[in-house]
């Protein structure tokens, strides 16, 4: 049953993909033209900027919280309230303090 339903989901997804693929292929408006990247009139070699990520702390927080969202949902469904409330309070405090640490 489950396998057959996944098969149906796959077919519908394929149908949607084919629709957009056909549309994309139909939209070919002549031969593609290659130009140098737009740089406000300056000459710019086509290289990707090796930019530094200043917000790495935010990225770390993001990864933790994104995974955490699903954990919270599951905890609510399983009715594990007290440990969750304690953990949430700690996270909340950490969140308030985190930006101060970053600015140092």
């Amino acid at each position: 049953m489950l396998v057959s339903y996944v098969y149906i989901l796959g077919l519908v997804l394929l149908g949607a993909f084919l629709f957009y693929l056909i549309l994309f292929i139909l939209g070919k408006g002549g031969k593609e033209k290659r130009v140098y990247p737009f740089a406000s009139g300056e000459f710019y070699r086509p290289i990707r900027i090796p930019y530094r990520v200043h917000f790495i702390y935010y990225v770390a927080l993001f990864a933790a919280f994104e995974t955490f969202a699903v954990m919270v949902m599951l905890a609510f469904i399983a009715r594990i309230m007290v440990p969750l409330a304690i953990y949430l309070s700690l996270v909340f405090l950490a969140l308030l303090m985190a930006p101060k640490v970053i600015t140092k």
Binding site: L9, V12, F38, P46, P99
Partner: protein, 325 residues
């Protein structure tokens, strides 16, 4: 021949959702224009309702100009896959009738995953083009993404916590028989609304595009059918988040005291009506506000919006522990 029916289902639902997304774009553009004392789209169709279609067709038949050094494979794959996934995610939301087109266990988690993937696709698009503006746009988009995504996902999780189910279908059924989640968790709705505006890159959170500063950001190197597909992806993303908000917080196609599902077509009309109200609110926000700097957006989301959603969750945990919900 059953497989053919499912293929055609995917095909026609995509066509339908694409058309709806163009009409929503028209509503948004018209509202912004009226709020700014302009006329807005006027010529394509009655009151310019087909402007979205016209723009799409025009871009599709234009000769594409692509930059030297771009990753050609990703440039082709990302937009097509993006619009497909956005359409696929919407099929799990019951917008047409009480039952969604597709159902699966824990479908809310998949929708969260797909919506995050769509944002990552956009950040990648900026990065695969080797131009200064598109790279800066991609970096800004990545920063924007890590700011709004956590409150966005947590605010989507709140209805699941109240109903204790990860299926959108069950969340809607709860709202049919009980109160709307908006009333039970108003802070969650506010957070979702703000994150939604950021997710679809509307003013004040459009720092990743910022025409006046970085000439369009991640999309500056796009043209022709590539640009057409990214515009479509943005429209479909707006439709997806608005539909999610209506289904999870505003009772879907249900109205208090009226069995909308009993009258054919009424459920769909009510659902679309609520979605239009949300689009108008987004458009009005867009019309009256100015663009924020990227560091201000980061601060705003991490220092104000994310703690707000945590307060809502802690309150909910308290209500559940006390047996109120």
């Amino acid at each position: 021949m059953t497989w053919m029916i499912y293929l055609l289902l995917g095909f026609f639902v995509s066509l339908f959702l694409m058309s709806i997304s163009f009409i929503f774009e028209w509503i948004e553009r018209k509202t912004v224009a009226r709020a700014q004392s302009r006329i807005g789209p006027l010529l394509a169709g009655p009151k310019g309702i087909f402007q979205g279609f016209a723009d799409f067709i025009k871009l599709m038949i234009k000769r594409p100009v692509i930059p030297v050094g771009v990753d050609k494979l990703l440039l082709f794959v990302l937009p097509v896959l993006g619009v497909t996934l956005a359409t696929f995610a919407m099929m799990f939301i019951p917008f047409f009738s009480e039952k969604p087109i597709l159902m699966y266990t824990s479908d809310l988690v998949y929708i969260m995953g797909i919506s995050a993937a769509l944002s990552v696709f956009i950040a990648f698009t900026g990065y695969i083009s080797p131009g200064p503006y598109s790279n800066i746009g991609a970096a800004r988009y990545a920063e924007l993404f890590i700011s709004y995504e956590v409150p966005f996902v947590l605010s989507l999780a709140i209805p699941a916590m109240i109903v204790r189910s990860l299926e959108i279908d069950n969340i809607l059924l709860f709202q049919k028989t009980s109160l709307w989640i908006l009333i039970l968790a108003p802070l969650g709705f506010v957070v979702l609304f703000v994150s939604m505006i950021s997710k679809i890159e509307r003013i004040p959170f459009d720092a990743a595009e910022a025409e006046t500063e970085i000439a369009g950001g991640w999309q500056v190197e796009l043209s022709g059918r590539y640009l057409a597909f990214y515009k479509l992806l943005t429209n479909l993303k707006m439709l997806l988040v608005v539909f999610l908000c209506v289904a999870l917080y505003l009772g879907g196609g249900y109205l208090p005291g009226i069995d909308t599902a009993a009258i054919p077509g009424l459920y769909f009309l009510v659902f679309i009506g609520k979605a239009i109200i949300l689009v108008v609110l987004i458009a009005l926000t867009e019309a009256i506000m100015a663009r924020w700097r990227i560091d201000n957006i980061l601060n705003y989301f991490w220092r104000i919006v994310t703690p707000l959603v945590f307060i809502q969750i802690i309150l909910l945990a308290g209500f559940v522990a006390l047996g109120i919900i």
